[in-house]
Every structure is written in structure tokens, then in C-alpha cells.
């Protein structure tokens, strides 16, 4: 039975993922993405303009250096025939140009960095704000909880890629155009030679990048295999030892390792090939420019200094291509990341409830009428569900793992909207009141506890410093955790470390109960512990649950017979639907699903 529900929930997840993918794989062109970034970063556009300006000045200064260098060389006509005065002037001008170029280069990278960080900071900010307004259904179907970490990663990739690419593209374009213009002014034939030779460098580096990218991807894959194996076996090393499995695992590792070596070797070879190839192409250009330059010099068309100027230009003309192409994979992945980020930013928000009234008073009556619900249209879950809960009643929800208990909670607290039918609290349709006022009326204690890095007091008081300490203590006493807190080093001021070990799972849960005690909500949603909590803590939690439920409408995901038999209504769930409801005795008399469940679990062998 539990296997079946396991399979069906697996199916649901698969379909949800597919559904999600079709929605998420919206392809955008690079141009669309760039224009979106520009639009978001519009307030910072002055940095972009400044970058263009600085790069322009830098580029002019850089271009002047070879000209004056050539002139200085030209002033040294031969041994003993050197115009010292001119050379000194040219040298000083060159120094000036170099300094100006360096200064504006630095300024340019400062402004482009500022632009990038401000832009990505804003995008990140928008994204985190967006998460709060996204419907839960989106977050649930996106990636089972790792949405946040993936987004952070995407933003990092985007920042890195934009940093590289914007800087490279802007300064590249400016210096490319500048060099071209300068060359054309100086000597058209030599300029044409350089322009025709440059594709050689582009083609060769494009070839190498293609090759190395192919092997790089393979390497990433096989590194994934390798690290996956290591992770699995190092984490499971104790089992390996228990079964004397070491020789086999070493042997298997050597195989995977050898595979990684083969690919890694090729990948490294190709990725390190671009530097010598660039040097080679530069060498060729150097020779050809020398050859044709010399021919022209012989014919008296140009002076020797022009040759030297062109030798420098040949280098700087090809450089932007190489820089951009070596960053191309970063750029590509940053565009992909940016595309995903914008897809999320453009998801429709949760339906606004700004104009709706708050739920002011609440007696704890809950009425569910003809409710139908499913996460995706094809897989039906809750069908024609009706339930009347009067103030103070205890509703136990039972069923095998994965039967859909959390779906019910999602609907009660309106994390999801019903497809048809109504849910009302105190006679108010929950669609006609604000979500926050509805959710405030529920106190929720789940097995997954949510504590933050603050003192125990702040955790119980939800960070509200206006709540006096004795109220906090009273709540802790009701939750049965007061004695425990008193034993802690700093009592109520002891810090709770998130994910830390200073509190056990059960103690964390008791803290959450104390928190709910303090809020005194009219309705409760509780999840009883199943395992991995020792008996005494379990009893404490049970007692605390009994305290807290007194006089309140409560929905309890129940595992304990006592809770179930005492419940006013038992909801029996299976495969996402409520299949039976009634009291313990009614359900036993019915001899249905509950009857079988009860008997199979308690049958003696």
C-alpha cells in the first residue's frame, strides 16, 4: 500500500517537473537578455557612459604610443645621426600617453565594475522580493526546495560572466575601431594586410575553443562521476568496512579515475593550447607585416617608423577577438543564467489581496464545502470534500506516508487555492480575506522546525522585544521546556545555532510549541513525531500538544493511537484524497480502509 502511494507521488513529481520545464525553457536571444539587463540597470547608466568615455580615452592614448615610438625610432636615422632633442620629447610624450592610458584603463574597469555590481545587486534584490510574492505553487513545482540556492548560483554566474564580458566587449570594441581607424590613416595596404590576417587568429582560436569546450564539458561530466563516486563511498565508508568491500571499491574507483584521466588529459592539452597558438599567429603576422612593410619602405612609400607602429597595431588589433572568444563560454553561461533569472522575475505574482478585508475575530469554526483540488489538472487529488469543524474540535488526519496530508494543510492555510468549492473560517470564505490575517489565526508545529539564529527568548517571542520575559517563561512552562532552558548556559539568552547541535530535534519542536503557546491562535495545525526522538522527549511533546490543543480547533497529522481515538473527527487520506471520515468507532464499524489500516498495524504475529 505504501509502495503504491510512493509510486503515485513519484509520478506526480515527474509530471510536475515536465510541466515546469515546458514553462521554464522559454528561450530568449542574447539581445533580449542584454536589453533586459540594460532596462533594469537604467538608473546606473551613467556608469556605462563613463566606461565608454574612459575606454575611448584609454584607447586613443594607447594608439598614440606606437606612433610616437615609431617617430622616436625614425629620429635615430643612423649611427651618429641621432636627434636627441626630438627623441627626448617623443619619449616624454610616450610616458605621458602610457600614464594616461593606464589611468583611464583603471577608471574604466572601476566604472564597469560599479555598473555590474550595482546592476546585479538590484537584480538580486528584485529576485528576493519576488520570491515573497510568488505563489507557493511555483516554488513547489520549480525544484523541490533548492530554488533559492540555484538562484544565488545563477546570480553569481551572471555577475561573473557580465563582469568579464561587458569589460571585454566595451574596451574591445573601442580599441578595435580605434586601431582600425588609426591604421587606415597611416597606411591603407598594411592596414588591409592586418585586417585580412586577423581572421587567421580568430579561426585558430575559435577551433581551439571549440575543441577545448567539448573536452571541458566531457571533463565536467566525468568529474561528476568521479566526485559522485567518492562522495558516495567516502560517506558510506563505514558500510564498506563492515562488508570488507575495500578492495572492490578501490578497484572501481581506479576505473572511474582512469576514465577521468583520459578525458582530463585531452581537456588540459586543448585548453592550454590557446596561448601558444596566439603567439604563433602573432608571429606570422609579425613576419608578414615586416615583409610588406620592408617592401614599401624600399619603395619609399613609408618610413621605417611606420613599420614599428604597425607591428604594435597588429598585436592590439587581434587582441579583442581573442579576449572575447576566450570568455565566450562564461558569457554564454551567464546569458543562460540571466535568462533563468528573468524568467522568474516575470512569473505572475500571487493574486493580490490588498483590497480584501482582514479576518478580525475568529471563533475556530471551519467549514469546507464541495472542495476539489489538484496540483496539475490531469492528476486528480481531493475530490468533493466536505467537512464541518466546530470550535474546539480535534481533527485527526491519518493515512500512509505520502497520502496527501500536506495538501490539506496547503489548502487550509491558503498556500494554494482550491479549484472549486469553498473553505470558510468563522463564516468567511478564505478567498475573501487577506492571506496574512488567515495564516495568523493558525498556530503550526511541524516536524521540520523553523528556528532562527537568535536567543531562545527571541525564538519563542518571534523576535518581538515587546513581549515581557514572564510571558515567554509562562509559554515555555506550558510547553514543558522551561526546566530544560533553565539548565542551558545562558538560560533564555542562550543562542540557538541554526543547524547546530545544541538542541535536539525534540527540543526544537518544544520551542516551536512554546512559540505557538505565546501567540494563542484559535486554530492549530500539528504534526506528531514519528521516530528518532527518544521516549521521554516524545512524552513531553505529547503532553505539550495536549496542553496546547485544549479549547482550540486543531488539525493533527496523527501517528498515535490515543490522539486518534480521542479525535472528534478522523480524516482518512490515501493517494491524495480524503476517502473516509468519522469517529474511531464509526470508522471501525464501517469496515473500510481505516478498519484494514488499523488491524494491519496492530495485528499480532
Amino acid at each position: 500500500m505504501s509502495e503504491n502511494s510512493q509510486m503515485s507521488s513519484e509520478l506526480v513529481r515527474q509530471k510536475e517537473t515536465r510541466h515546469f520545464k515546458s514553462r521554464f525553457m522559454k528561450n530568449r536571444s542574447a539581445f533580449q537578455i542584454v536589453s533586459k539587463v540594460f532596462k533594469v540597470a537604467r538608473p546606473y547608466r551613467q556608469y556605462l557612459y563613463l566606461t565608454f568615455l574612459f575606454d575611448f580615452i584609454n584607447s586613443i592614448a594607447e594608439l598614440l604610443v606606437p606612433i610616437f615610438l615609431g617617430k622616436a625610432i625614425g629620429a635615430a636615422i643612423g649611427k651618429g645621426n641621432v636627434n636627441f632633442k626630438l627623441i627626448t620629447i617623443y619619449s616624454l610624450v610616450m610616458i605621458g600617453c602610457v600614464l594616461i592610458a593606464a589611468l583611464f584603463n583603471a577608471l574604466g574597469s572601476l566604472t564597469i565594475n560599479a555598473y555590474n555590481y550595482k546592476a546585479t545587486y538590484k537584480i538580486r534584490d528584485l529576485l528576493f522580493k519576488k520570491i515573497n510574492s510568488l505563489p507557493l505553487s511555483f516554488i513547489d513545482t520549480t525544484s523541490h526546495g533548492d530554488l533559492l540556492s540555484r538562484m544565488i548560483n545563477d546570480i553569481d554566474v551572471m555577475t561573473d560572466g557580465f563582469l568579464e564580458s561587458f569589460a571585454a566587449v566595451i574596451s574591445g570594441i573601442v580599441s578595435l575601431v580605434g586601431t582600425l581607424v588609426a591604421m587606415l590613416i597611416l597606411n591603407i595596404p598594411l592596414a588591409l594586410i592586418i585586417v585580412t590576417l586577423t581572421p587567421l587568429s580568430i579561426i585558430s582560436s575559435a577551433y581551439i575553443i571549440k575543441k577545448s569546450k567539448k573536452y571541458f564539458n566531457l571533463e565536467v561530466q566525468s568529474l561528476g562521476d568521479l566526485s559522485g563516486y567518492l562522495e558516495e563511498y567516502i560517506a558510506g565508508e563505514r558500510v564498506v568496512k563492515a562488508f570488507n568491500h575495500e578492495p572492490e571499491s578501490v578497484k572501481d574507483f581506479a576505473k572511474i579515475n582512469q576514465n577521468y584521466y583520459k578525458i582530463g588529459e585531452k581537456s588540459q592539452f586543448y585548453s592550454n593550447l590557446s596561448a601558444p597558438t596566439t603567439r604563433f599567429v602573432n608571429g606570422i603576422v609579425y613576419g608578414v607585416v615586416g615583409l610588406f612593410g620592408a617592401f614599401q619602405a624600399i619603395r619609399g612609400i613609408i618610413s621605417v617608423d611606420i613599420i614599428s607602429t604597425f607591428l604594435s597595431y597588429a598585436n592590439s588589433f587581434g587582441r579583442p577577438f581573442n579576449e572575447i572568444s576566450s570568455n565566450i563560454s562564461d558569457i554564454q553561461s551567464s546569458f543562460a543564467a540571466a535568462g533563468r533569472v528573468f524568467n522568474i522575475l516575470e512569473e505572475p505574482d500571487e493574486v493580490s489581496d490588498e483590497n480584501l478585508p482582514d479576518l478580525l475575530s475568529c471563533d475556530g469554526n471551519v467549514s469546507i464545502k464541495n472542495v476539489n483540488f489538484s496540483y496539475i489538472p490531469k492528476v486528480k487529488l481531493i475530490q468533493n470534500f466536505n467537512l464541518e469543524v466546530k470550535q474546539g474540535m480535534k481533527v485527526a488526519i491519518v493515512g500512509p506516508t505520502g497520502c496527501g496530508k500536506s495538501t490539506l494543510i496547503n489548502l487550509l492555510m491558503r498556500f494554494y487555492d482550491v479549484n472549486s468549492g469553498t473553505i470558510s473560517v468563522s463564516g468567511n470564505n478564505i478567498k475573501e480575506i487577506t492571506r496574512s490575517s488567515l495564516r495568523n489565526k493558525y498556530g503550526m508545529v511541524l516536524q521540520e522546525t523553523w528556528l532562527f539564529n537568535a536567543s531562545i527568548r527571541d525564538n519563542i517571542a518571534y523576535g518581538n522585544p515587546n513581549i515581557p520575559l514572564d510571558e515567554v517563561i509562562a509559554a515555555a512552562k506550558l510547553a514543558g521546556i522551561h526546566e530544560f532552558i533553565e539548565k542551558m548556559p545562558n538560560k533564555y539568552d542562550t543562542m540557538v545555532i541554526e543547524g547546530g547541535n545544541n538542541l535536539s530535534q525534540g527540543e526544537k519542536q518544544l520551542l516551536c510549541i512554546a512559540r505557538v503557546m505565546l501567540l494563542k491562535p484559535p486554530m492549530l495545525i500539528l504534526d506528531e513525531a514519528t521516530s528518532n526522538i527518544d521516549t521521554r522527549t516524545e512524552m513531553n511533546i505529547q503532553n505539550a500538544f495536549n496542553n496546547i490543543m485544549h479549547g482550540r480547533t486543531s488539525f493533527v497529522v496523527a501517528h498515535r493511537l490515543s490522539t486518534i481515538t480521542n479525535a472528534d473527527i478522523i480524516l482518512v487520506m490515501n493517494k491524495g484524497n480524503v476517502i473516509e471520515q468519522g469517529t474511531h468507532q464509526e470508522l471501525l464499524d464501517k469496515k473500510g480502509f481505516y478498519y484494514n489500516l488499523y488491524n494491519s498495524q496492530f495485528a499480532k504475529v
Binding site: A76, Y229, L230, V239, K241, A254, Q268, L291
Partner: protein, 541 residues
């Protein structure tokens, strides 16, 4: 794959180069030849300008241009060869290091695994070895190139003009200083920046830094101009000089980078060395006693006044004495962290006792070969860990040549047969990484079956039925009792799982509170009563 360092007791990255000696020699030679080719080009260009142009000798210019072309082609060939040798060496040594590290990790006992933890070991096996062989590759590619570029440029410059080349001697140290200074200043900024992307500080990536430094120096071409004041120098020579200067400065930048790579390698090497220095603390004796399946004591387990603590902390097992006869079932119950698992971990020598003795088959466990000892014990760990592969592969761990019948029998005892039989691939049904394609209860039953294959005379179930419902749990225990007849240790939080045991050990924060049968304990042990009552009043559904 045995390596010299095992005898030397120390991890030395250099020792991994031995296997690749020919590449280690040939690679840098190729790179040196490449560097020479780079050094020659400007020299020839100077000849074109100084001799070819004034004499208007077309054929000379063409000849010299062809020489430049050929030199560049040669340089390229050497570069490719050098690259190939470097990558063969570095990736090869990376592979060998990883193999050795992983093999060494596999000799560790539980204490050593505790000491480092999974993520540390993982990091060192993957990232630190990576850093070392990547660094080696960079060094191999540059170790000869840099001095040749530096010296070559210097010598060629001297050939061209002695006086002018003196400038290099003066300027190079200054340049070197500047390069180091810039690198040193930028390096922390970069690492810092990687950590705090949030703060809008100005950060450049490592690559950009390098590029900028090189560019900054390439522009400092003006020194030559000043030298012309000092005496005659030709235009061509001046041009060559400027080129040499550029080459020297880029070589210096590379040199500075090599130094940072080197320090990083050193750190990684130390970390790996720590792994190798840590030796397995649980070893087999020189002349191990053979385990005798015919002995009447086969399957018998005794604890004689056993105390145990993890690395000198408080005792987690205090003065445990108990004799377990072959085929008996022992329950161990108590709260989390009370030391239940620690007791059973002493039987297969996952840890050694602090004092007292654990006997299996009448002999101290320390007298056996560790592998043989673990061979007769079927262990179900607390965490149901399965490994990528198939069900069959996972279940053959105790017995690599297990037949289908044996595996099916184990599955049936473990109450796992029914759901496995539903898979069309049956035993060849895949197990995904971490067993994520099974539910918690399925995983527990599969790990139990894994321990049962080959009928181990001793069986340890370490709180491994928590995800099973009562009916299944009861069936499982009954099947073990009737079909296996192993000496069985059951660690549990639930009295119902152990109430049929021949003896039950009740532990509370390291102390043995009581030992007895279910009925005896119900009468005299208050903790046991408390646990039992609380669980049976409100039994879990």
C-alpha cells in the same frame, strides 16, 4: 599502485613524477625551444630593417621573412609537444595521487574516519590533488620557458647592444618587485571579493589582473629611446630591444604567478600529507588465530568488563560484562546517545575497547584477522546506505559469488521480497545514488537483506527497523529467529522490537542499568518500565 611514499611515511608530490621522468625532461626542453624561437624573431626583424631596407635587397627581406615564418612554425610544434608532455604528466600524477589517497582512506578504521569527517576527506581527495597536479602542469609548462625567455632576451639584447642591455639588468629587479607587489596586493582582494560578492566593492577577476599587469608593462617601451642618447643604435636594433623588453616583462609576470601556484601547492600537499600520516589504528595481528566454524563456541560473543570512550572523552560504555551463546538474541535499549550503538560497534572491531575485552568464538577479537572477523558478522547500520548499481550488486557485498537463490532467501527473511518481485527487472532493478529511488522502509529492508546473504553466524541490527510498521518488524524478527539461527544483536528504541530477546541490555548515558529478560526488566527496571508503558499506551500507528 604501491608508491614509495608509503615506506617514507610522507606524502611527496615530487615522487609521483618519477613514473613520467621522460615527459618531465622532454616537456620543459620543448618549451625552452619554443622560447628560443620567440627570442629569435625580433633579432631577424632587426636585420630586415637594418640591412634589408637600406640596401634595398628584396631577396634578403624575403629570405629573412621566411626564416621568421619557419622559426614560428618550429616554435608552434615544440609548444604543442611540450603541452602534450605536460598534460600527460600532470593528469597522470593526478590520477596516481587520487588512487593512492583513496586506497589509503580505505585502510582507515572508524576512529580515523571520525577524525577527518566526510567532507574533509572528499575535499582533500579531489580538490587538493587537483591543485597539485594543475600546479605541476603550470610549472612544467613554464619552468624552462621563463629562464630561457629571460636569459635569451638578455643575451640577444647584449648581442645587439651591450650598453643598452645593461638597462635590463637594472630594470628587471625593479619590475620583479612591482609585479610581486601588485600580485600580493591583488590576491587578497580577489579571494576576499569572492567571499563577499554582496558588498559593492571593486574586484577584478584573477585573469583580468594578469592581463592588465602584462599590458601595463608592455607599454613601458620608452627606455630604449633614452638610451639612444648614450650612443649609436640602429632603428632595427631599437625595435628588437623593445620586443625583448616586452618578453622579459611577461616572463616576470609568469614567474610571479608560478610562485603563488607553488605556495598553494604546498598548502594542499600538507593537507594530503595529514591524511597519509594518519594510520589505521585497528590492524590485524602478525599471526592471526583462524576462525573455526566447527568449534562449539562458533557464534558465541562475550563482553568482559568492557569500557569504551571516543578519543578519551567520557566513557560511553561502562563495565559491560555479558555472555551471549550461539544463536541467542540480545536486545539493547536506551535513549539517543546512550551508547547502544557503541556496544555493537566493538564486536566487528570498528572501534577497540578502552579496557576489558570482547571475545568472539572464545577468542579476543584482537587475535583475529580483521577481514575474517568481519566476514562472519552481518551488519545493518543505523543509516540505510545503499550504493549506485543494481539490487543484485548491492546484495552481493557480503558474498560476491552469491547465487540468486541465496539473495532471494535473504530478501524473503528481510520482508523485502514482495516489493522487489514487483520490479520487471527484479534483482537487476537499478539503485540510484544514495538509494533515493526507494522509500525509507524499503531501504532499511534492503540493507537488512544485504547483511543476511551468506547466513552470517553473528548478526547486528543497529536501530535498523525504525521505518517498518509493527507487523513487518515482527515478521522480520520471527524469520531471522527461525530461518537463520544467527547470534543476533538488536539495537532499538522500542520495547516491542526486543521483548522476545533472550537477554536485554538497558543503557542510560553510558551506564549499563540492567540486563535481563523482558519480564524481569518489567519487574525491576524503572527506565525500562517507563519506556514500555509510554510506548504501549499510545502506540504509533
Amino acid at each position: 599502485m604501491k608508491n614509495a611514499k608509503k615506506k617514507q611515511n610522507e606524502f611527496r608530490p615530487m615522487s609521483y613524477l618519477k613514473k613520467y621522468t621522460h615527459y618531465v625532461v622532454l616537456g620543459p626542453i620543448c618549451k625552452a625551444l619554443e622560447a628560443l624561437s620567440e627570442v629569435f624573431s625580433p633579432f631577424i626583424m632587426a636585420k630586415i630593417i637594418d640591412i634589408g631596407i637600406p640596401s634595398k635587397d628584396n631577396s634578403y627581406i624575403v629570405k629573412m621573412s621566411i626564416v621568421i615564418l619557419l622559426i614560428n612554425i618550429l616554435g608552434m610544434v615544440f609548444a604543442i609537444l611540450g603541452q602534450k608532455f605536460a598534460s600527460l604528466t600532470s593528469e597522470g600524477m593526478g590520477r596516481d595521487m587520487r588512487n593512492d589517497v583513496f586506497e589509503h582512506i580505505n585502510t582507515y578504521s572508524y576512529s580515523e574516519l571520525d577524525k577527518f569527517g566526510t567532507s574533509t576527506i572528499l575535499n582533500r581527495t579531489l580538490n587538493d590533488t587537483y591543485r597539485i597536479h594543475e600546479g605541476t602542469s603550470a610549472i612544467l609548462r613554464n619552468i624552462m620557458r621563463i629562464p630561457f625567455l629571460l636569459l635569451g632576451s638578455l643575451v640577444m639584447a647584449m648581442c645587439v647592444n651591450i650598453k643598452l642591455s645593461l638597462i635590463f639588468l637594472v630594470v628587471s629587479p625593479i619590475l620583479l618587485f612591482i609585479v610581486f607587489y601588485v600580485m600580493k596586493k591583488l590576491q587578497p582582494l580577489i579571494t576576499e571579493g569572492k567571499k563577499r560578492l554582496d558588498t559593492t566593492t571593486q574586484i577584478t577577476s584573477e585573469n583580468l589582473t594578469g592581463v592588465r599587469v602584462v599590458r601595463a608593462f608592455n607599454k613601458q617601451n620608452y627606455f630604449g629611446g633614452i638610451q639612444i642618447n648614450l650612443g649609436g643604435i640602429s632603428q632595427g636594433n631599437l625595435l628588437a630591444f623593445i620586443n625583448y623588453f616586452a618578453q622579459i616583462s611577461s616572463a616576470l609576470v609568469m614567474f610571479a604567478r608560478i610562485i603563488t601556484i607553488f605556495t598553494r601547492m604546498k598548502i594542499s600537499s600538507n593537507r594530503i600529507n595529514e591524511l597519509f600520516e594518519t594510520k589505521n589504528s585497528i590492524t590485524s595481528p602478525q599471526n592471526p588465530v583462524k576462525i573455526d566454524p566447527a568449534s562449539p563456541d562458533f557464534g558465541k560473543v562475550e563482553f568482559q568488563d568492557v569500557c569504551f570512550s571516543y578519543s578519551n572523552l567520557k566513557n560511553i560504555v561502562n563495565n559491560l560484562s555479558i555472555t551471549v551463546n550461539p544463536g541467542d538474541t540480545i536486545g539493547i535499549i536506551g535513549g539517543t546517545g546512550s551508547g547502544k550503538s557503541s556496544i555493537v560497534n566493538l564486536i566487528p572491531r570498528f572501534y577497540d575497547v578502552s579496557s576489558g575485552a570482547v571475545l568472539v568464538g572464545g577468542n579476543n577479537v584482537k587475535k583475529y584477522d580483521v577481514e575474517q572477523l568481519r566476514d562472519i558478522i552481518g551488519i545493518v547500520p543505523q543509516n540505510p546506505t545503499l550504493f549506485t548499481g543494481t539490487i543484485r550488486q548491492n546484495l552481493s557485498w557480503r558474498k560476491p559469488d552469491a547465487t540468486d537463490e541465496e539473495i532471494i532467501k535473504a530478501l524473503k527473511i528481510a520482508q523485502a521480497y514482495d516489493f522487489v518481485a514487483e520490479y520487471p527487472e527484479f534483482l537487476d532493478h537499478p539503485v540510484q545514488r544514495g538509494g533515493t529511488n526507494f522509500s525509507g522502509g524499503q531501504k532499511q529492508r534492503l540493507t537488512i537483506a544485504r547483511a543476511l546473504v551468506g547466513n552470517p553466524p553473528i548478526l547486528i541490527l543497529d536501530d535498523s527497523t525504525s521505518a517498518l510498521d509493527f507487523a513487518t518488524d515482527a515478521k522480520l524478527r520471527k524469520a531471522i529467529k527461525t530461518m537463520l539461527k544467527s547470534t543476533t544483536f538488536i539495537v532499538s528504541q522500542r520495547t516491542n522490537s526486543i521483548k522476545d530477546c533472550d537477554q536485554i541490555i538497558v543503557v542510560d548515558s553510558g551506564n549499563i542499568l540492567d540486563i535481563g529478560t523482558h519480564e524481569q526488566l518489567l519487574e525491576r527496571c524503572s527506565l525500562y518500565q517507563e519506556i514500555h508503558q509510554s510506548q504501549n499506551k499510545k502506540e504509533a500507528l
